[in-house]
Amino acid sequence: MLRVEDLHVAVGGKPILQGVNLHIKPGETHVLFGPNGSGKSTLLGAIIGFERYHITNGKIYFKGEDITSLSVHERAKLGIGIGFQRPPVLRGVSLGDLLKVTGSEENKVDELAESLHLQSFLERDVNDGFSGGEVKRSEMLQLLVQNPDFVLLDEPESGVDLENIALIGQSINQLLEKDGYCGDERCRRKLKEGRNKAGLIITHTGYILDYVPADLGHVLFDGKLSCTGLNPREMLGCIQKYGYADCTHCLA
């Protein structure tokens, strides 16, 4: 679904990513770890195509198409969605008005808003005076309405209290088509085979992994991905033990 090849990205003239390679197949959920300022948001921003992230080298392919020079809008139209770490406030634009333009069927909006306890927020200006948790739930609501095939989530649980993390987790599963109930391994495998939606999630705490099953973890360090391949939860434990720089210890 997504293939990133030898990606170099500079922000404000400063090189941040220096040769990132990443391959996410349909149905897969990957997790991205890394210290503050390592460039995790930069990678997501470059994949969706934000102007401030200058791609100096490398390519991004989505569904087989080279999207390296497409606009944000074109990438969104192809099926990429993003949940922001710190989204801007849109004055005078109500969340409800925004969802009317971005969604396909209007009637679903109310239902989805209700499931995220955001009914009363539809009238409010997007992100204006929202608390940390409300911002994240509103991001999830917007994504559910947009319904992308591939979703980038930048710290979806930061600033969210424990109860609401479960709610965020559920909506991520819904977004990634992981919300079907399965009792046994065979059923889970079947569910996975039928699933095409994929995602890349940034998390610091890993709390979200208690709710969202993920396939592969990566650590972003020194402008490159390292330690790729471990199960994300094991990787988190390993990072806690050895630190980001030495996560390679765990691979052996």
Binding site: I48, F50, E51, R52, S71, V72, H73, A76, K77, G81, I82, F84, P87, P88, L90, R91, G92, V93, D97, L98, V101, T102, D125, Q142, Q146
Partner: protein, 405 residues
């Protein structure tokens, strides 16, 4: 007394205004045709109906409680549709009511500048709109100031009175016929909001490229009165200069100004709002949004506190959509006594790229995203306009978008 006023006006004919380019009356000396009074608005030419609709004046009078139309300097229609509301030609009203002379050139000084003086000397067209005590209008009264003739100077004198305990809504749409490029409009409006009355006054300017506009409006609010003023200027006009002023004389009186200004290349808008807080516990709010696609906008605001304990806030935001334009925000606070609470915030800048990209990431194109942010910024919906007028205003903003893209 009429002679006395004329003399004062005569002397002020060369008196410059404090702000704005000096207009030479001689460049607008088209000889005017007299237009006949129409009992039935349906008889208006279709083209004019459409032109008026853009400024919020709907000749079907659906959800309106009265209509006044002045074409050039002829009053072609004046009627009220609800008991207890009056809509008259000002000249006629002055003949009918002797007491009206106490309101006439009372809030606005006839010798304030050359423009008020010109209106004083030009004669008696304009509207008199009044809600009798306790009468609550269900829908707005609509008024249209229409310039149909090229190069004409339109002069207007309006008086609005919301009597004690009444509720009145007025929409004034000012526009030109589609073939008119140049003209001048001077409008004097004297507004009186009596005890516990509420008046909402919405003015929509939709002029043409070479029109010069000099409104002169003063409002006086009594005890417990509420005055809400909305102003929208969306289409190009060569020059608009106005600084409407409200005197909150009464105890607990309230004024709110909300203006939306859209500047275009070669337009010069110098628009302010001033509130003088005199009554005990009076409150004022001034909200201004200006956006330029290349023209110059001076946005003034002035709050004057003359009574201890009054409160006022001024908020002025400007958005530059073109590197060519100028937005000059001039918020002023003036405390004349101790213990007043006046504040302001002003911000001028361009659209935040991050906001655009946020919307683009949700699937909007760059143009759609820009339009949505601009619409949100201008925030016309908080004005509480009738639905169709709001739709017209939104449409005009969108149209002016396309014309510059």
């Amino acid at each position: 007394m009429q002679d006395e006023l004329r003399q004062k006006a005569q002397k002020a004919l060369d008196k410059s205004a404090s702000f704005g380019e000096e207009i030479d009356f001689n460049s607008f000396n088209a000889k005017e045709k007299v237009h006949l009074y129409l009992d039935n608005l349906v008889d208006l030419p279709d083209e004019e109906k459409k032109d008026m609709l853009i400024a919020g004046v709907d000749v079907s009078e659906k959800e309106r409680t009265g209509t006044f139309i002045q074409e050039d300097n002829s009053v072609i229609h004046a009627s009220a549709l609800q008991d207890g509301l009056e809509v008259l030609n000002i000249g006629e009203a002055l003949e009918k009511y002797d007491w009206l002379h106490d309101y006439y050139w009372n809030a606005v000084q006839i010798d304030a500048d050359k423009y008020t003086a010109k209106v004083g000397l030009e004669g008696e067209s304009g509207y008199f709109v009044r809600a009798l005590p306790g009468v609550k209008a269900v829908y707005p009264v609509q008024a249209c100031m229409f310039i149909g003739q090229e190069g004409l100077l339109q002069s207007v004198h309006n008086i609005i009175i919301a009597e004690e305990g009444s509720e009145l809504h007025l929409i004034t749409g000012c526009t030109t016929g589609r073939h008119v490029e140049s003209g001048m409009h001077i409008g004097v409006s004297e507004i009186y909001v009596k005890k516990n009355a509420k008046l909402s006054f919405t003015m929509v300017h939709s002029w043409a490229e070479e029109v010069a506009v000099r409104p002169r409006t003063v409002t006086v609010v009594d005890d417990g009165g509420v005055f809400l003023s909305n102003y929208v200027c969306m289409r190009p006009a060569r020059t608009v200069q106005m600084y409407p002023t409200t005197y909150l004389k009464g105890q607990g009186s309230v004024a709110r100004y909300h203006s939306v200004l859209v500047g275009h290349p070669n337009t010069d808008l110098d628009v302010g709002s001033r509130v003088v807080l005199q009554g005990e516990g009076s409150r004022a709010e001034i909200i201004a949004r200006s956006l330029t696609r290349g023209g110059r906008i001076v946005n003034r605001g002035h709050l004057v506190g003359e009574q201890e304990g009054v409160k006022g806030h001024l908020e002025c935001r400007g958005l530059m959509l073109s590197p060519e334009g100028v937005i000059y925000a001039v918020p002023e606070l003036e405390a004349r006594v101790d213990g007043v609470e006046l504040s302001h915030e002003a911000a001028v800048g361009k659209i935040d790229q991050e906001e655009i990209e946020y919307l683009m990431a949700r699937g909007l194109s760059e143009d759609e995203a820009t339009a949505m942010i601009v619409r949100g910024f201008l925030n016309v919906k908080v004005m509480g306009l009738p639905e169709e007028l709001e739709a017209e205003v939104q449409k005009a903003i969108a149209l002016s978008d396309e014309s510059t893209l």
